[in-house]
């Protein structure tokens, strides 16, 4: 895709014809990556602010309100504070792994932004194995978390790392299984294609969420499993403030801690974006087809819709976090293996049978065809 962009750029601007094509392609790639990363970091920073504000509202408090108007610049202040903080590496820690771990977590979380279909044509790289890629690259996080837990040379951190490993490995299965119905319906692993497959029918009824009862259930199963994937309450046992102090990042400070922190919020966005793309129709809204709009407007509009849906899911995660207590580690495993895994398999079976029996038609389509 980048290459085709580069070719069209060269065609449009004849001055560039002397430059080797790969240079232009590389430049475009770097620019796109920079845009995505900037977005991801800004989002993460703002998400921390929103999280605190949501927590404040729920807890009958105010939340951050001192830095900037209504405290909106709090995340900048926090970021500067974390940058300026002393970077502590425990004396007996495994220095190399200790330093490496936050980067792995960060990379694992933010590399997934590449395939997020932000809008019509707004995708950094439309991989044809999009979902697969996301599942694979976010699993890198668990390696980083485990390394962090191990290399800190702290028993609490070790316990946190081990918990995280067990948790993420277990929850990868229901997450994957819960996403498969969307893949089945669209017949593609590419997120762009999955979103496209949910258009039509006044927007909302084309969503996979309403395709059939099984996909409806699938969404909730996915959302629960994704909460666990991102280590959010009620599944935040790797961090478990009140048990493991802070779990795997207990020994981290300053900017390295910030990496873990940003990665957590990045993860939240990625799983919410996947939910939006796979079940909530991506950028599709009722009565308005973004792809039919003029190019730039269509892009921006679809971006807005997509972000709106995704961020609502992120806020929902925060809301859940500030309501629920935390599970115990064995209960967490029980939820995964006794409830989520069987149910997602059941769902997958249900969706497959549905598609087979009704020739890929969802309930709204059938109703629509009844009325002609």
């Amino acid at each position: 895709m980048m290459e085709s962009l580069a070719i069209s750029l060269v065609n449009a601007v004849p001055v560039l014809s002397g430059v080797p094509l790969w240079t232009i392609t590389l430049l475009i790639m770097v620019m796109v990556a920079a845009v995505v990363l900037t977005f991801a970091l800004t989002y993460s920073g703002l998400a921390t602010y929103v999280e605190r504000k949501v927590a404040g509202d729920i807890q009958a408090r105010v939340g951050p309100n001192r830095v900037g108007p209504v405290g909106i610049l709090q995340f900048l202040a926090d970021g500067i504070k974390l940058l300026l903080k002393e970077d502590i590496i425990p004396a007996k820690a495994d220095r190399f792994l200790f330093v490496l771990a936050p980067y792995l977590v960060f990379v694992g979380s933010f590399a997934a932004f590449v395939v997020v279909p932000f809008g019509v044509g707004l995708i950094a790289s439309d991989l044809n194995i999009g979902i697969y890629y996301v599942m694979a690259i976010t699993s890198l996080v668990v390696v980083g978390v485990m390394l962090a837990g191990w290399s800190s040379n702290n028993k609490w951190a070790l316990l946190g790392g081990m918990r995280a490993a067990a948790q993420i490995v277990s929850y990868e299965i229901p997450v994957g299984m819960a996403l498969l119905p969307a893949v089945l319906i669209a017949g593609s692993l590419s997120l762009q294609d999955i979103v496209r497959s949910q258009g039509g029918l006044f927007g909302i009824f084309g969503w996979n969420l309403f395709h059939n009862p099984f996909t409806f259930l699938s969404f909730f199963l996915y959302y629960v499993a994704a909460l666990a994937e991102t280590n959010r309450t009620p599944f935040d046992i790797p961090e478990a403030e009140s048990e493991l102090v802070s779990g795997y990042h207990v020994e981290y400070s300053g900017i390295r801690f910030a990496f873990f922190f940003l990665a957590e919020y990045g993860d939240m966005f990625v799983v919410s974006a996947l939910a939006t793309a796979c079940f909530l129709g991506g950028w599709h809204v009722p009565f308005l087809d973004a792809e039919a709009l003029p190019a730039l407007w269509g892009n921006l509009f679809s971006l807005g819709v997509f972000l709106g849906k995704t961020l609502s899911l992120v806020v929902l995660m925060m809301w859940i976090r500030w309501t629920l207590p935390r599970l115990r580690v064995d209960q967490l495993m029980r939820v995964a293996w006794k409830y989520l895994v069987p149910l997602t398999f059941f769902n997958l079976l249900g969706v497959s049978l549905w598609l087979l029996l009704f020739h890929g038609k969802g309930i709204p389509q059938m109703i629509a065809s009844l009325f002609g």
Partner: protein, 376 residues
């Protein structure tokens, strides 16, 4: 199998939980010996907050010791104040005006609500839900406001005096208390909806660290912890002191409603229900409070007769017993405080065997221990 076990040796981990840990409620240190997540042995190590309150008691006068009782159980300072006053009055045979006793009961029960609110809030925070904690604090602030009106401090009240209370109730105090009770009464069902019966919360607590009634009595558990094991023993009912016989209230006991009898959930629910009972008591006390003086005549150089007395009062954390020996001088000769949390810690090692690390946190929270009282 054996060969594999040898090839992959496992080791027990020795983990130091505390004295600085978010959920040991202060500076409790628990030396955990764990097999992975499972606790093999958890040995409490107390004493990080030892301030020699019993030794101080031998140096100061009876009246001067009152502010130190604030520091015993700072979440229920009124109760500790009153317990000390009742002990000395029992020793010296002082008749306390009835109005003073009613005031004491009102403030003690309000303080019991405040203390149970903290128990509830910090327990839920230990369980990972932080929001109820702030709701609990919010309600407790209103009780603190009431106490500030009455005695001028918000945490260490030093309000009760030997022979009465330091000052009569301020204007509008009873009305304000009533307003608070009207505000607070619907909050308890809200807590239940918010968290008490939440599936995750129930699962975290039910069947965890169940204490049998025999163990509870033998290990000297008292107060809500004893009642959580289904033993209906409440000093206010069974060994009434002050004007408690005047009031109609129920003794809340654990029923094992979501698991086994005496588990963490039962202890938790006893506290929640006791808040309702305290509301009832305060309402009755407000109705019945007589007019009159609030202070008996106690000489300034107060010298009780020679003797030994043991008095126990039902405090939010169990019975605070004070064993007081007087040699007839102005200072107590010996003063022993039987702190409920301290005795409760005796059972800790026994019931945490085989639990998970997260359950240890639940056990600490469900016993509602407070460290200044343990370490004195």
């Amino acid at each position: 199998m054996k060969a594999r076990a040898e090839a992959l040796p496992t080791q027990e981990m020795l983990i130091n939980m505390g004295p600085q840990h978010p959920s040991t409620h202060g500076v409790l240190r628990v030396i955990l010996r764990t097999d992975g997540e499972v606790v093999v042995n958890a040995r409490p190590d107390v004493g990080y907050l030892h301030r020699a309150l019993e030794k101080i008691g031998e140096r100061v006068t009876y009246a001067q010791y009152m502010p130190f009782t604030d520091r015993l159980d700072y979440l229920a300072a009124m109760n500790c104040n009153a317990a000390w006053a009742w002990t000395v009055e029992k020793l010296a045979g002082i008749e306390v005006p009835e109005r003073a006793e009613y005031i004491r009961v009102i403030v003690c029960e309000l303080n019991r609500i405040a203390s149970h609110l903290i128990a509830f809030g910090s327990f839920t925070a230990d369980m990972g839900a932080f929001t109820p904690f702030l709701y609990a604090i919010r309600e407790r602030e209103r009780i603190n406001d009431l106490f500030e009106d009455i005695c001028g401090n918000r945490l260490t009240y030093n309000y009760v005096r030997i022979g009465g209370v330091s000052a009569d109730l301020p204007d509008r105090f009873l009305e304000k208390t009533k307003e608070f009770l009207d505000y607070f009464a619907p909050k308890v069902p809200e807590y239940n909806n918010l968290i008490s019966y939440n599936k995750i919360f129930v699962h975290r607590l039910a069947n965890v660290a169940a204490v049998t009634p025999e163990d509870a009595v033998g290990y000297g558990l008292t107060g809500p912890n004893l009642r959580g094991s289904g033993v209906p023993f409440d000093l206010r009912k069974n060994e009434p002191y002050s004007v408690y016989p005047e009031f109609d209230f129920d003794v809340c006991v654990g029923t094992g409603e979501r698991g086994t009898l005496g588990d963490c959930f039962d202890r938790y629910m006893v506290r929640i229900n006791e808040m309702k009972e305290s509301v009832r008591i305060v309402r009755q006390a407000i109705e019945q409070i007589p007019e009159g003086p609030v202070m008996a005549k106690v000489p300034r150089m107060f010298k009780p007769p020679v003797g030994e007395v043991y008095f126990r009062a039902e405090n939010p954390r169990g019975e605070t017993g004070i064993y007081l020996i007087s040699d007839g001088t102005v200072n107590p000769y010996r003063l022993k405080i039987r702190a409920p949390s301290f005795v409760t810690m005796g059972i800790f090692e026994k019931i945490t065997k085989g639990l998970m690390i997260a359950d240890v946190v639940a056990v600490i929270g469900s016993f509602d221990i407070i460290l200044p009282e343990i370490d004195r």
